[in-house]
């Protein structure tokens, strides 16, 4: 068995949005615009970025709570299969691009038309073949039955501890819902399992018969974690599980997640906007900006030697609990631009202190730099 648990390739997700409140014209919002990620078994991958960068959307696509437009989500993939399928996917993408340019031309010769027809057919055929090959381990192209079996292996803990639990259900039904649906536990045994889970997340047994509104934010987040654990998943996507909590409660939940990781042999994707929290809990960190990953590195290396200008400004925004800390905060200026109409070239260029002439013209591609970080930037500092 390979030690890669999840591999995400070329993930894209768009949403249609109205041009304005009164318009019927529809625009495309690129929430996730070509994301690749890889998770090793037992590791924690942090995903960090400002609000609206597409972190939640990536997480929801992994669970197929959103239907992605393109890409693959491999679970325990076979490396040779991935490369075989990726090759076809790439050639399909190239053909699709050619098709787009051809159909964009105002006048077409008969030869062009024939080419278009042939291309269309090949795209369809190759896509089907790739999907067929991938369907053994790609969550996005597998059959319903296989998906259901795999789906329980990925769970999510949600950001808002107030909205994510059904207010009309008592805790034991919330936590026991999954096991009941999948038939893993029932009756007495289910009760025992729920009690064990509540104990694991630090809730008293009496909590089982209470409703969510009777709990504080931190306790609700514990309920959400117990629910995520109930089907003993391999991966838990934690979507800003501590952002809505006080620092003191945040520390309790971070400690809880760390100890559960060992007990339950878990792999985590940990999403947050605060790099100090992400760096604390993660082995590796992916920094996202406007739907794209702009830097990935080991957590320690990301702090010690950040390369992408966006990462550097995220680090500079973290308040330091030391009145004598010399650095004053140097956050990125302004807000994240709208993903409906992102800036040209490097999408970070309007806020970047290191930008050079090419930055607003050419889109930088992700590549490995000398010290092992993967970054996309034309002019990375700290080289």
């Amino acid at each position: 068995m390979s030690d890669t648990l999840i591999k995400v390739t070329g993930l894209k997700k768009t949403f249609p949005v109205k041009a304005s409140a009164f318009s019927s014209k529809s625009l495309t919002l690129r929430a996730v615009d070509g994301v690749d990620l890889e998770l090793k078994r037992g590791e924690t991958l942090g995903v960090v970025g400002e609000s609206g960068c597409g972190k939640t959307t990536v997480g929801r696509c992994l669970l197929r709570l959103y239907e992605p437009d393109a890409g693959r989500v491999w679970i325990e993939p076979d490396a040779s299969l991935v490369s075989q399928v990726s090759e076809i996917d790439e050639s399909v993408a190239a053909m699709a691009e050619e098709l787009a340019t051809l159909s964009g031309q105002p006048t077409k010769t008969t030869a062009d038309k024939a080419r278009v027809r042939a291309l269309k057919q090949r795209v369809l055929r190759d896509k089907a073949r790739a999907n067929q090959l991938a369907s053994t381990s790609d969550l996005l192209s597998m059959s319903r039955a296989r998906l259901k079996a795999n789906r329980r292996r990925i769970q999510m803990v949600f950001q808002d501890p107030w909205a994510s639990l059904n207010p009309h259900m008592v805790v034991k039904d919330i936590v026991g819902e999954g096991p009941l649906e999948y038939g893993t536990h029932s009756g007495r045994e289910l009760d025992r399992w729920v009690h064990e889970l509540l104990e694991k997340v630090g809730l008293p047994p009496q909590a089982a018969n209470r409703y969510p509104h009777e709990f504080s934010g931190g306790q609700r987040q514990r309920i959400g974690i117990a629910r995520a654990l109930a089907l003993t998943p391999s991966l838990i996507v934690c979507d800003e599980p501590v952002s809505a909590l006080d620092v003191s409660i945040q520390a309790q939940i971070l400690n809880l997640l760390i100890s559960l990781q060992d007990d339950f042999d878990l792999t985590f994707i940990f999403i947050a906007h605060d790099l100090s929290v992400v760096q604390y809990i993660s082995d590796r960190v992916a920094v996202m900006y406007l739907g794209k990953v702009v830097e990935t590195a080991e957590a320690a290396a990301l702090y010690a030697n950040p390369r992408h200008p966006y990462t550097i400004s995220l680090l500079a925004a973290v308040p330091v609990a030391d009145p004598e800390h010399p650095n004053e905060l140097r956050p990125p200026e302004g807000d994240v631009p709208s993903p409906v109409n992102p800036p040209s070239g490097c999408t970070f260029h309007p806020r970047c202190r290191h930008r050079i002439d090419v930055c607003d013209k050419v889109i930088p591609v992700l590549g490995k730099d000398r010290n092992g970080h993967v970054i996309s930037c034309h002019n990375p500092p700290n080289g």
């Binding site: 003191s248 520390a251 309790q252 760096q279 957590a299 905060l329 302004g334």
Partner: protein
Amino acid sequence: MDKLLDVKGLKTHFHMHGYTVRAVDGVDFSLSEGETLGIVGESGCGKSQTSMSVMRLIPDPPGKIEAGEILLRGRDLLKISEPEMRKVRGNNISMIFQEPMTSLNPVYSIGYQISEVLMLHRDMTKDDALKESVRLLKLVGMSDPEERVTEYPFQLSGGLRQRVMIAIAMACEPDIMIADEPTTALDVTIQAQILRLMADLKARTGTSIMFITHDLAVIASFADRVMVMYAGVVVEQAPVRDIFKKPLHPYTQGLLGSIPVLGEVKKRADGSRQLLNAIPGSLPDHRNFPKGCRFAPRCTKVMARCWEAEPALVPIEEGHQVRCFLHSDAVQETPAYAEVKRGQQRKWQRADRRAQGAGPASAATGADKTGGRS
């Protein structure tokens, strides 16, 4: 130093069916001209109700300011009439809240909302007020302020809305600005922008600030003095440097231990993960308050006497006060304490010595494991 605001013995209680919530239960603090006071504590510990009491905005019923004095330049705000208080709110003290959307009016443009304050409190004409609004928006770092004045709250991001709130708060050139978790709902990046803006305004205008937060890191570079609250009382108060360099109260130490530090090593020597030094458990329920020290059920250093009597807030050093038996034997004179008999002190000391002989006292009743940070 001249005291601008002096709050003494403030008690604000909420009378619910069958029980009383002692949200603010005897709080003393002061604020000097140009000073920034950080008020820190977990959700529910009484920070907001303390500032709402200063503004006299406690909903009555069920709330009531039961006792105390709130002296603004020597004048007791609890003794003046409501119309006079309204003037104080407009001219002397203004407030910024956590959720800027709920405190802005969605149906008016932001220019209108700032102008309204200016016309009311600074007697400006409509045209002057609009011009001043543009200047204020520029002051709080909004780009294109001339266009922004015509926009509505829903058209702005959370960070920009908070800038508008600050512009409104600054409009009447207040003596005191109360900021109640102004950055808690924002991303860290936007938080950093707002903190920078507030530090900048403070330097330029000399306004005194009460800054409320649950995250000590936020005020490290910003506050002059810090007051730590727990369950309705002040447990420690000190100049900002002392709070971070030599925190005395176990609660303050716990709040500091809860903050993940950037760049800190997370693996122990044996390869296992380092846990944060979290505080176990949560705030006590008002229906079931501890008789002695309010922090005793969560305190890792609890001693026998902590369960029996409440410690008093006592000065340990210049400007540094703490409420904990580890640092002083002084007892808060409460009705509960009146029941405790004389001679008890010696008994406690004996019990503590016994406990110390048997190893460190442990009272981690909460469910969380706490990791020691060496």
